[in-house]
Assembly symmetry: C2
Homo-oligomer: 338 residues x 2
């Protein structure tokens, strides 16, 4: 039985989303159980209400909750009895194989690092997420956990991303690319150029530089970048998609005629939305920790939070931290870093 | 009479696009004239063919052409008789008030810097472009000319972007923001934090940090970032928009029914495309030079290249380099940099 420690209180909607998502996951995965961690009365009420068989759910009361506005350092110091902290403790103590949380990213990062510790050779975990593309999807890291990463760190991101992609996509040798720019006289910055040298010498299936637009072409399985760049790229992408959606909404609701055409085009628009639906890609992995931690988008709905749970299940099935640990060891032996 | 030096041979389509775009601009702007620089016979043929009054066009023969694949350093050394170089020479010698080129970005940057020189306090020009948003548009720089910019350089980008936005949008005090990430425990990297301190102390209308998604909300008039980050954000945005377009194409062409609904929704889809049309936003400014240089997208069509010409006209009307020079001087006096 694989057990997931669920931070039931995390995210904008808290248990109203996390509990139904967990119960739905119980139906999807007969081999999975949950520790539902948070305000016991609230969780119990939600469990009763749905009337689901709760044999595979235990409720763990946590008197505190990490707020979205909590500073990570403050959360780490003062929220030792929070649902987020208890969920991480459960992974550390072997009571659970993964932690899933929709809570405050900075706090989750800081707590996970403190409670679970990082793997040998890793200073800070990296955030890795799947992004949609015309064909398939691409794993991208780091998406904001690290800034000013050295070339050695970027190289380790590549190793970790490659292991994750191999596990999730069942692909023996994922195509790894390094995010760079093509406009410069001397292409890219020094760190990227040095990372490229490390990758060229490595056993990874390194395929060269990717530019920003390659994130969505499916040309690569893993795209590696500094957290500052990755975060901006991700948010800019969300911004464009949001703008196009808003413009579409405005244009289709302009008058009776356009509303009618929206009605007629509705099945196509729905399929289009489904294919690019960011909810499908919810669930970022905090890689480089001695345990599986999945960060859901704070605003996730039940379906979307379920995708983060799916991610946790796949990583447990594939023992991702162990595989990353071996890969890092192998690469660190073959290729001493710093 | 304002004169534009046109690199007629630049871009994927060369004179087939640049000449008709220039002739159309002559009709739009009675006070504008052109030096059409490139292969004389080709240009002459295109002028004859259209039968336009060419009193405001002089043709300047340039025996060489900078190729898209030319390395900037090689172009600088070996293409001294190229249309691109002659266009920049014309600006330097006062024969033209602006250069417009759809050629190789790196070569244009390098040549412009060598031929025109940068303004006092500016080491390398920055690339600034307008990006669409739900309401209005946003000027963003640098988009790839500089990597690893110092906080002093980022501050100067802010000054230049603010002057450009004030000129183009006729806005006395443009809202300036600094691109940053919000996911980190300690938000942002050191350079961004130091730049924020410089901006807070300045007379610019500094409005704090922007995240990637803010590029497309219209919350700010100017967004400042390092060229690496800006380039990735821009390309990632293009990537998402391209993916959504491709998915829409696939879904609408799936079968007879969906094709029919595309037909019915066509007017709405066309308006939507027009509002987000990247061609409308063609024409990036190379800021910080002692002259106006506008870089068009290499793949620009006639309409789109015309937008780059429009950009040159606005900048000439507003004497943007002079205004930037004064602003830099003012800011350098009030606030000595490095």
């Amino acid at each position: 039985m694989m057990r997931i420690a669920l931070d039931a209180m995390g995210g904008d909607h808290g248990p109203e989303v996390t509990i139904p998502a967990a119960l739905a996951a119980l139906r999807r995965y007969p081999g999975v159980s949950f520790s539902l961690i948070g305000d016991q009365p609230t969780i119990a009420r939600l469990l009763d209400r749905t009337g689901t068989d709760t044999a595979r759910c235990s409720v763990v009361h946590a008197p505190q909750r990490v707020e979205m506005s909590d500073r990570p350092s403050v959360a780490l110091r003062n929220k030792r009895e929070s649902s987020m902290r208890f969920a991480l403790d459960a992974v550390r103590d072997g009571h659970a194989g993964a932690c899933v949380s929709a809570g405050n990213t900075g706090a989750l990062m800081g707590m996970a690092r403190y409670v679970l510790k990082t793997l040998p050779g890793i200073e800070r975990p990296a955030i890795c997420a799947m992004l949609p593309s015309v064909n398939g999807s691409t794993h991208m890291l780091d998406l904001g956990a690290n800034v000013d990463s050295s070339s050695e760190e970027l190289f380790r991101f590549a190793v970790m991303g490659s292991v994750l992609a191999a596990s999730i996509d069942q692909r023996p040798s994922p195509r790894v690319a390094l995010l760079n720019i093509g406009e410069e006289e001397i292409k890219g910055n020094d760190r990227v150029k040095q990372t490229a040298l490390l990758l060229e010498k490595s056993k990874l299936n390194y395929c060269g530089f990717a530019e920003g637009n390659d994130i969505y072409t499916g040309k690569f399985d893993v795209i590696v970048c500094d957290g500052f760049v990755g975060n901006v790229a991700l948010k800019a992408s969300e911004g464009v998609a949001g703008m196009l959606l808003e413009l579409a909404r405005q244009e289709f609701s302009r008058n009776l005629l356009t509303k009618l055409s929206a009605l007629i085009a509705a099945p196509v628009l729905r399929r289009l939305r489904d294919r690019a639906d960011p909810r499908r890609y919810n669930g970022a992995s905090l890689l480089g920790l001695r345990g599986i931690v999945i960060k859901s988008h704070g605003g996730a709905d039940i379906y979307s939070f379920g995708r983060a749970i799916d991610q946790a299940v796949v990583e447990m099935e594939n023992a991702v931290p162990d595989r990353i640990s071996s890969a890092l060891e192998q690469f660190l032996v073959n290729q001493p870093l710093s």
